[in-house]
């Protein structure tokens, strides 16, 4: 038995290991990663790092000294597992045994089945993806972005800054509409248009045209867009295939309890980060996966404490898990920041400023505050965060 095996060498895996150590676990920890890199920070990949050049060494997280003795098994993803035998199988043939398993494999970009050549269509998740994209974002390049979520919008802003021509094609009626709602989404669209982005909203791509390399993209309204590079940013898929065959419900990540323990797992097993579908005392309702940057840290901390307890034979803390989802985004000189779950709202009210300038919007569901979003108003958000935590 080799102690804790953490599958996934991103932020969630790192924080889980650090938390287990902080909670007193001194046994072996192995962290498995698909990429060859030690854990690094992904958000800059669509922003600063994409604009100034990607150097993964500058993006690595500082690792606490307590995890200096962790065994890193990088460059080989997990491809299978047997939770009863307590083994994980990696793509390089390695079989790792464990006492306790952590699933921290995160998400990957969703791919659309689009007819035509595929060369020149890039997704953005890893540092290597960003390197590939950066090479193509040269002044004058014609960039077509599929999807108007955060990544699509951030790449659009960066590409404009680098002197590219940018078209965004998305089925949504406004950019970032699911988290922001129509009014703030529209206000952000106007900012993008002011910088020269062309939107094709309520539209979808019907095909890629070109010989081997994509040179044009066809849209369902008949529009043809010249394309030197296509960026596909249309959502994500949870990396759970390596857990197939163990009787777990893998339909939407992994369902966990308040301790981050995977429901129905036949062994000590936890899930953290983007794939953990967890309860949240501050946001009642069904367990949810939240793909925000701060959640791997929040869920990883709790999972680490649970691991240390389980492996020392102590009871796990079963107190309700409560965490404040938060996102931020940089587009041009504008800063968006949010607390809570604005996407749950049925009613949105701008309560300070105006959407065409700095502003704050409250997001309510059945009259209850569920989220807040600020554009270029950061310090003013703090009281709303307190309200969301029930400390009015």
């Amino acid at each position: 038995m080799t102690g804790i095996v953490i599958v996934g060498a991103g932020l969630g895996g790192l924080r889980t290991a650090e938390s287990a150590r902080a909670a007193g676990y001194q046994g072996p920890i192995t962290i498995v990663g698909e990429e060859s890199h030690l854990p690094y920070n992904r958000p800059p990949l669509s922003k600063e790092a994409l604009s100034t050049g990607v150097a993964v060494d500058d993006l690595h997280f500082r690792r606490k000294p307590s995890v200096d003795d962790v065994t890193w098994h990088l460059g080989a993803p997990a491809i299978g597992s047997d939770l009863v035998a307590r083994t994980v199988t990696l793509a390089d043939g390695t079989v790792l045994s464990f006492q306790a398993l952590v699933a921290a494999t995160g998400i990957r970009p969703r791919r659309l089945p689009i007819d035509g050549p595929q060369a020149g269509c890039i997704v953005l998740r890893t540092a290597d993806d960003a390197l590939q994209l950066r090479e193509r974002l040269i002044p004058g390049a014609q960039v077509v972005i599929l999807g108007a979520g955060f990544i699509g919008c951030e790449v659009a802003a960066t590409a404009i800054k680098l002197g590219c021509t940018v078209h965004v094609v998305a089925i949504d009626t406004e950019p970032m509409i699911r988290p922001l709602g129509a009014e703030l989404g529209s206000a952000m669209r106007v900012r993008h248009e002011h910088h020269g982005v062309h939107f094709h909203l309520g539209r979808f791509v019907t095909g890629f045209v070109g010989d081997e390399q994509i040179t044009r993209v066809t849209v369902d309204d008949g529009t043809e867009l010249a394309a030197d590079v296509v960026v596909e940013a249309v959502g994500s898929v949870a990396n759970v295939e390596w857990l197939a065959g163990n009787g777990l419900d893998l339909s939407d990540g992994l369902l966990v309890d308040d301790a981050m323990a995977v429901i129905d797992a036949p062994c000590p097993m936890f899930a953290v980060g983007d794939i953990a579908r967890h309860p949240n005392a501050w946001f009642p309702g069904p367990a949810r996966r939240i793909e925000h940057w701060n959640m791997p840290t929040e869920t990883g901390k709790r999972a680490g404490q649970s691991l240390a307890a389980v492996l020392s034979g102590a009871p796990m803390d079963t107190a309700a898990f409560a965490a404040m989802p938060s996102f931020w985004s940089d587009q041009y000189s504008h800063k968006l920041q949010s607390f809570g779950m604005p996407g749950l709202a049925d009613h949105i009210t701008v309560v300070a400023g105006s959407p065409d300038g700095p502003c704050i919007a409250e997001y309510r569901r059945d009259g209850q505050l569920v989220g807040v979003v600020g554009i270029d108003m950061t310090a003013e958000l703090a009281p709303y965060r307190k309200q969301l935590m029930g400390q009015q």
Partner: protein
């Protein structure tokens, strides 16, 4: 314990302020201000503040 914030990286999101409000604060202009010399017993919260920084701009020594 010595706290340093790389002000070239810092984007003044203020996430650190929630973890250690006695060490990090956004001023009236929304700019981050912080205490560089912090008592050792505050380490856990200050490390949490460094952990949650979206720009990973905080170094704790």
């Amino acid at each position: 314990m010595k706290v340093t914030v790389d002000m070239d990286k810092c984007q003044h999101y203020g996430q650190c302020c929630f973890e250690a409000p006695d060490v990090f604060e956004l001023d009236a202009d929304g700019k981050l201000q912080y205490v560089a010399d912090v008592a050792e017993e505050r380490r856990a919260d200050v490390e949490s503040a460094a952990d949650v920084c979206p720009m990973q701009a905080i170094v704790v020594e």
